[in-house]
Symmetry: C2
Subunit: 381 residues, 2 copies
């Protein structure tokens, strides 16, 4: 917790639940990444947190933006960013959304299928397009399905097809998985990309860009490598696979930029046991899976949770095991049942808890009003 | 699909995705349930779909309402329903929300823990309270965790404690699980309830009500028993366990009342394969898990999906296996990958698909704007 957030809790302390984001951390994370990996052009993944305040900080810092929909395009253009700094990274686009983007000046688009290329050729003629390829992402906390990307052999033929359709085959993209902590994954993925560059060169097509996707972590329950470790792994792999000829490298951090910048304050609604002899208590918070903590599905993201508002008092309070759940009447609205969590034995209804590193993928995931609970409010300081 | 919905698709046909709800079905389902199970007083579970239009139909028909939060209380009172027709069925309530309900006239509250009883005693003095007990709900499509309820032994002592605190111990509640199709579950749950009635009677406390919860199904991919089968099972079990002395029975249908009344129309955004030799196609729709289809988590609810707007043409079109996914950049936004689904081989971007029996647990689950996609719109006809 930053000093600025601690002061906000002390001086403002709005009704729970809410997210508070320290914008200085956002700016610092962007600067850290640029310093650690100067070779990469940063495209902030707007979906992680599309708040205007965050976009403004990153726009001023010089970031580019990865967008997923017309509404995200509008959000970025509305803070004064030129369309040349946007990449439409969603491989699944309605043709009218492609046309919308093109009309507003976007000239860089992702794809992973022939049907998408045909839409792009019709509604974004001449645009730069990059193909997302499937790579191994075992080892990620929020593992990816095969939903995005195609196999490298298909990518090769689709990039040729793009040229035939009058588009500019510009590069390849991959995503090693969010919270990816196995550095070798970057190496094998970059190997796939380099092979595609060489194969296309033989076909007479020169690619210019490798999109490294996201995957840089925020700090949840486990400690993770600092960004310099990632940067080193990426640069080593880049050098190994691309030698002296460097294409452009794009990177699309979302969680890394805003995750640690935010903290959710929630309130304990109830502490109970199901039977007199139960060892574990159930702790019910006023935020759950449908109020912003969707990424606890399958207990995938294990947020750090404290009760001392950053005072350090938790370290000396007697603690006991708990199951943590949300406030809705939905029995699936349980945050942590298998993952061992401990909270103070004297925890009681009305106590405040802090859920750390929640700046990314929380506000926009929250439901419009499930069980009548309003969406997560957010404050930017 | 009803004729009225078919006409709506033909004549109005708004941009996708949207939910359309046939209010005649809502009214009919309520009437069917009253006829099949006249012994039970119906409390509509507002969380299933809190739309004003639905509340109005049910209010006119004479329904009572099960609410989960102050916002749901407001929604029901706002259609002219008296507070005596409300049950605050959430066992997890902030004390200020209890006070809000009490101030607005609500006098019936659920609980499952001592801490909740203490809040109720302070902020809803003298109110009727009922204890939710844990029962076996294996066999349900959307199985319940142990989040709600306590074991029967604890329920007994809590109901005594309620009396000591000046509350009126009114009855017991259970929930056999949503989409519960194993009729024996009702029998064993009612046995637990009857045992509690007898045990409390020995303690000098007469209970008056059994809350049967929800669990009545909508029609998804599998055919399920009609409501008369459930009603018969419930009445048989009631007679067996309660003999000639019948307490009041409350039932809290949500899905049963509004599930089948609604249909989502969506659009195919993309059809693709990941490699040239793949057997299964990926079909991407403009609605997914974060746009209203949250209950496809773990492929629990298997919605019926068609592409012929109810014309029957699907029965003669050549079909092939598909994986069905949503439109966001979230790789977890996959609807059906393991469950075998087939869609027409000539399916193409821009085609409309109908997702049936989606009137319940869709609109309010949808995210406020994940990836920049707006919440699910709904039309009531």
């Amino acid at each position: 917790m930053t000093d600025r957030i601690r002061r906000f809790l002390r001086d403002v302390d709005p009704p729970t639940p809410f997210l508070v984001v320290d914008l200085e951390v956002v700016g610092q994370r962007y600067a850290d990444l640029r310093e650690a990996l100067p070779v990469a052009e940063v495209f902030y993944a707007v979906k992680a947190n599309p708040a205007r305040e965050i976009l403004e900080v990153l726009a001023r810092a010089g970031s580019n933006f990865d967008v997923a929909s017309p509404a995200e395009i509008d959000a970025v253009l509305n803070v004064g960013v030129g369309a040349e700094r946007l990449s439409y990274g969603n491989t699944i686009k309605k043709e009218r959304d492609i046309a919308y983007a093109y009309t507003h000046g976007v000239r860089l688009f992702a794809f992973d299928s022939e049907a998408e290329l045909e839409k792009l050729a019709r509604s974004a003629p001449g645009a730069r397009v990059f193909c997302r390829v499937l790579v191994d992402n075992s080892g990620a906390d929020w593992p990816l399905s095969r939903k995005f990307g195609c196999d490298p052999e298909m990518a090769r033929s689709l990039l040729l097809r793009a040229q035939a359709l009058g588009l500019e085959p510009y590069g390849v993209a991959f995503h090693v998985g969010s919270q990816q902590t196995v550095l070798e994954r970057w190496n094998s993925a970059l190997g796939v990309a380099a092979d595609l560059f060489q194969a296309l060169e033989k076909d007479g097509v020169t690619l210019h860009m490798v999109n490294l996707g996201g995957g840089l972590p925020a700090r949840y329950a486990r400690e993770v490598e600092g960004v310099s470790g990632y940067a080193h792994a990426i640069m080593t792999a880049v050098t190994q696979h691309f030698g002296n000829y460097f294409p452009r490298f794009f990177i699309e951090p979302g969680r890394y930029i805003v995750g640690d910048a935010g903290m959710i304050q929630a309130e304990v609604v109830l502490v109970s046991r199901k039977a007199a002899e139960d060892l574990k208590r159930w702790v019910y918070l006023d935020i759950g899976r449908f109020g912003g903590l969707a990424e606890t599905e399958g207990e995938a993201i294990k947020y750090r949770i404290g009760c001392d508002a950053g005072s350090g008092a938790d370290r000396t309070r007697p603690m006991g095991p708990v199951i943590i759940a949300g406030p809705t009447c939905d029995s699936a609205d349980v945050l942590y049942e298998k993952t061992p969590y401990e909270l103070p034995l004297d925890l009681a209804p009305g106590d405040k808890v802090q859920i750390h590193a929640t700046g990314a993928y929380t506000t926009t995931y929250s439901s419009v009003g499930f069980n009548g609970f309003e969406p997560l409010r957010a404050y930017f300081i």
